[in-house]
Symmetry: C2
Subunit: 138 residues, 2 copies
């Protein structure tokens, strides 16, 4: 996923150690970390990194469309690096785990009834339920 860093450089970003580390932490599938979790993990790789820089960097990544903000519960925002494939979220009502599910024509259909004249440009779905682990424990 270092092509993310290349894309950022192409966009005129200065590649600092802090930004490299934030990008590194966000690497992977089904990653939905809070800013604080990003800060904590980034701090393991680069102890001096500040919260402000993590927030700045996350904000910039979101503005560039490289990372998505997800707010599946009322609490802290989560940052989702899977911005290249449209998807929805499966959220465990017990342990709060989040998984990505691909979007398709079916999930992205507009509502069947009255749309009050809105011109819909995006559909965002949160599926809530029990993940396999929490089903087993129940």
């Amino acid at each position: 996923m270092s092509d993310l860093l290349e894309r950022l450089r192409d966009r005129g970003w200065r590649l600092t150690a802090q930004r490299r580390v934030v990008a590194e932490v966000l690497n992977g599938d089904h990653v939905h970390l809070t800013a604080d979790e990003v800060h904590e993990r980034a701090g393991r790789l680069l102890p001096e990194i500040s919260r402000a820089t993590v927030y700045n960097t996350l904000g910039e990544l979101v503005a560039l469309g490289e990372v998505l903000e997800v707010s599946t519960d009322g609490r802290a925002k989560r940052y989702d690096p899977n911005a290249r494939h449209r998807h929805h979220h499966l959220v465990c009502t017990n342990c709060r785990t989040i998984r990505d599910v691909p979007a398709d024509e079916t999930t992205d259909a507009p509502p069947s009834g009255d749309c009050f004249g809105f011109r819909i440009s995006d559909v965002e779905i949160t599926y809530r339920g029990l993940c396999p682990d929490c089903q087993a424990k129940a």
Copy 2:
């Protein structure tokens, strides 16, 4: 909508002026107020009402399932009194207006692909786009 007050009394609620006023403010269709907006409007009817009481009352209404919490953007939670009919939300990307659209079997279908073993119990959809007013202005 005073049957809401009756239901609350049936559940052992003390009917105070403050609670009556909060219920009054939440009355209507397509109502999605923030706690602060509820406080402001409640204050027009009962000037001494405190923010803490508004928060307490909203929290209790949510716990009782009479009001839904909606977080369509990263900012303040909104309170939706339309808890009796399952529905989704249409959100204007420009002016933030919210409208309710009824849920049905089509909108509530599980994702077609891999669900990672989740047992899905709820589907929550946010449709984003331009409302008629904002289309006209654009």
